[in-house]
């Protein structure tokens, strides 16, 4: 754990999340304190996005609870959160500012307030000149920056970022990381999902390693290396996540009875290995 003393802001208590028969999160408990950047690190399908969606109130836990400091369930108090999903979720036929304003209005924040906050952060992200442009032609980096501005415009206490630098060029990624630190320095809390250990080490005060729906470790980068007696975070990560990673599973539930029958009848089949072994290559 980080040595910095902060008040608890968000508590995840013994949370289980199932999708059909598959357990996505298996008894996850953690506490997020104010004024820290917490990195959620794990491979694809580890449960990072599911955990973020639970913390943002998009999903409800199958068991357990996600509560804020005042004891309220997080899905009832979403106005204290700012969320940037992996897909950014921008409307291409709206301008950057219209995208930001739309969310701010739904948060119940006046246009004037959100405009002031947007301008403040837009300067750091060098986005002032792009606010009046349609997001249709935006690069991945510009989209990510706009989504960040949108998440910050209503003044959230906690910022939830799902792989915010994925697919960004070096300069854009640096700018995003620098903004995240700026938010933390101004007293905000950031939960940052990534599978890049180098980035997590650079940005996060605390790293939570999640693997196959279970939290494997929680602490500062130094603490994780110390626990595992490894010299690098990468080695520590490999050491902590030795079980074979599972596949993504969330869409498995979507097939209805007709879909299952269809898949049974028309599912493409791999060639039989024994048949292949019997085939002479010269033939």
């Amino acid at each position: 754990m980080s040595n910095m003393a902060h008040e608890s802001l968000l508590t995840v208590s013994n949370v289980f999340k199932n999708f059909g028969d598959v357990i996505a999160l298996d008894g996850v408990s953690l506490e997020i304190n104010s004024g820290e950047i917490v990195g959620l690190v794990g491979s694809n399908g580890a449960g990072k996005t599911t955990l973020l969606r639970l913390m943002s109130g998009v999903y409800r836990p199958s068991r357990g609870s996600v509560t804020l400091a005042d004891g309220n369930q997080v899905h009832n108090m979403r106005s204290t959160l700012g969320v940037v999903p992996e897909s950014t979720g921008l409307y291409s036929r709206l301008t950057a500012w219209e995208n930001i304003r739309y969310h701010s209005r739904l948060y119940g924040v006046s246009d004037e307030t959100s405009w002031k906050r947007t301008l403040k952060f837009a300067e750091s992200l060098e986005m002032e000149d792009n606010l009046s442009r349609y997001t249709r032609g935006f690069s991945r980096g510009m989209r990510q920056k706009t989504a960040l501005l949108r998440a910050l415009a209503h003044g959230p206490k906690v910022l939830l970022l799902d792989e915010p630098t994925a697919g960004l060029d070096i300069t854009s990624a640096r700018t995003v990381r620098s903004l995240v630190k700026q938010v933390r320095n101004e007293g905000g809390t950031v939960i940052y999902s990534t599978h890049q250990l180098y980035e997590a080490q650079q940005v996060c005060d605390r790293i939570i390693i999640i693997h196959n729906g279970v939290i494997k470790a929680d602490g500062s980068p130094q603490e994780l290396m110390s626990i595992t007696e490894c010299n690098s975070l990468e080695e520590a990560y490999v050491n902590l996540t030795q079980e074979k990673a599972r596949m993504r599973f969330e869409d498995k539930k979507s097939d209805g009875p007709l879909g299952k029958l269809w898949n049974k009848l028309f599912k493409p089949k791999l060639p039989d290995k024994t048949e292949l072994m019997g085939v002479d290559e010269d033939e």
Partner: protein
């Protein structure tokens, strides 16, 4: 409550703005609806007339085959547009068997062949023609007209030869006066009857079809583009989200349907000046009930389409469900046209879709029957509520944030 209303309004406003910024939407919801009926009722008849005139003025080549060629018949043809060739032929088999003329007509060497053969007092004839050729069909039509006139002449001669009066023999039963004066229905009611045959059909189909695109765009489209997840993380409830999107789709659909009605009324107004159709007589009550029935129908249809689209994982999947689903409207709509409104059993007014279509038909005839109004309005409210509940259930599914991509 006011915050909730504010959020619903914000969502609806954004949906409309985003949708209207696509030029294809402008074409789909403004240009096409407003032009559809004027084109159908004004331009199309003009085009038909012009094509008919062109065919009338076309030179048609007809060969008349036989042993004898009655002058009275040949004179019936208009020589300015018809070229007649007389060919002496003796027939050994049925006149209808094309024989050598099969290829001549098919290859359009000639438009049609009229074969004549007299046996005792009777003239036998056949026409060899190609039904898939407009020229050949026109030739056949001109031959038939000429034969009818010639036959009338022959009949008159025979009646006179028999010492009878031609008119009283051929027309022993006659209507006295003007038929239109005997109909006690007013012109407005007659107009309402004509309109009731297609307005309900058009309203139902257009309401359903014009809601498809926005419904898909605002649900499966958002899901596919990944914008839905960001929206679900906001402090608005799923019901507010549904209400906002419903209001957005309903506004777009409402504009489309309204513009289509404007186009329809314009076309009717144009036709009214040509005495083809009048303006229906409708009481204020009937007009208000028409509006109420359409609104209830729209609530149900839009909620159902939003629900079905939200169930889909992609735009393609939603399109493949909602496209064919229009059959659910077309079949009842066609079925409703043949149901006799006089003495109709009340249960018809409780069947989904059919209830609103029948209500529209009755109301366009200005028939406000309290029992029927109570049944269709209460069942429509029930179906609208059920559709809204189903939509709400779909919007509360957790897997709506997952996408195929």
């Amino acid at each position: 409550m006011s915050n909730s209303f504010h959020r619903v309004k914000t969502i609806a406003k954004k949906e409309v703005i985003e949708f209207v910024r696509d030029w294809r939407t402008i074409v789909a919801i403004i240009i096409i609806p407003i032009l559809m009926f004027p084109v159908l009722f004004i331009v199309f008849p003009v085009l038909l007339e012009s094509e008919a005139a062109e065919l009338d003025s076309r030179i048609i080549e007809i060969e008349v085959q036989g042993n004898q060629f009655p002058d009275q018949l040949i004179q019936q043809f208009n020589y300015s547009t018809t070229e007649i060739t007389l060919t002496n032929v003796t027939f050994n088999e049925s006149l209808s068997i094309p024989g050598d003329d099969f290829n001549r007509v098919r290859n359009m060497e000639i438009d049609a062949v009229l074969r004549l053969n007299q046996s005792e007092d009777i003239w036998y004839y056949s026409i060899i023609y190609l039904s898939t050729s407009e020229g050949s069909t026109e030739a056949r039509s001109r031959i038939v007209d000429s034969l009818i006139n010639w036959e009338a002449n022959l009949t008159e001669v025979k009646i006179l030869d028999g010492g009878l009066d031609v008119e009283s023999t051929l027309d022993p039963l006659r209507y006295d006066g003007d038929i239109s004066n005997s109909d006690v229905a007013t012109e407005g009611e007659q107009a309402g009857l004509i309109l009731s045959l297609f307005i309900p059909l058009v309203l139902a189909i257009w309401t359903f079809s014009s809601a498809i695109q926005p419904s898909i765009d605002m649900t499966a489209g958002e899901r596919e583009r990944g914008t839905l997840e960001a929206l679900l993380g906001l402090p608005c409830t799923r019901n507010e989200l549904l209400m906002g999107k419903w209001l957005g789709v309903a506004s777009i659909t409402g504009v489309g349907v309204m513009l289509q009605i404007v186009g329809l009324l314009f076309a009717i107004g144009y036709l009214a000046t040509s005495d083809f159709i009048g303006v229906p007589d409708l009481s204020l009550g009937a007009i208000l009930l028409i509006i109420a029935s359409i609104m209830l129908f729209a609530i149900m249809v839009v909620a159902l389409e939003l629900a079905l689209a939200m169930r889909s994982h992609s735009v393609k999947e939603a399109g493949s469900i909602l496209g064919p689903a229009i059959i659910l409207i077309i079949f009842p709509a066609l079925f409703t046209q043949v149901i006799n409104l006089d003495g109709i059993e009340s249960f018809w007014f409780s069947i989904p879709v059919i209830n609103v279509l029948l209500a529209l038909r009755e109301l366009l005839l200005d028939r406000v029957i309290v029992e029927h109004v109570l049944i269709w309005s209460s069942t429509s409210v029930l179906y609208a509520v059920l559709a809204a509940l189903y939509a709400a259930k779909q919007f509360k599914r957790e897997d709506i944030v997952t996408t195929l991509s």
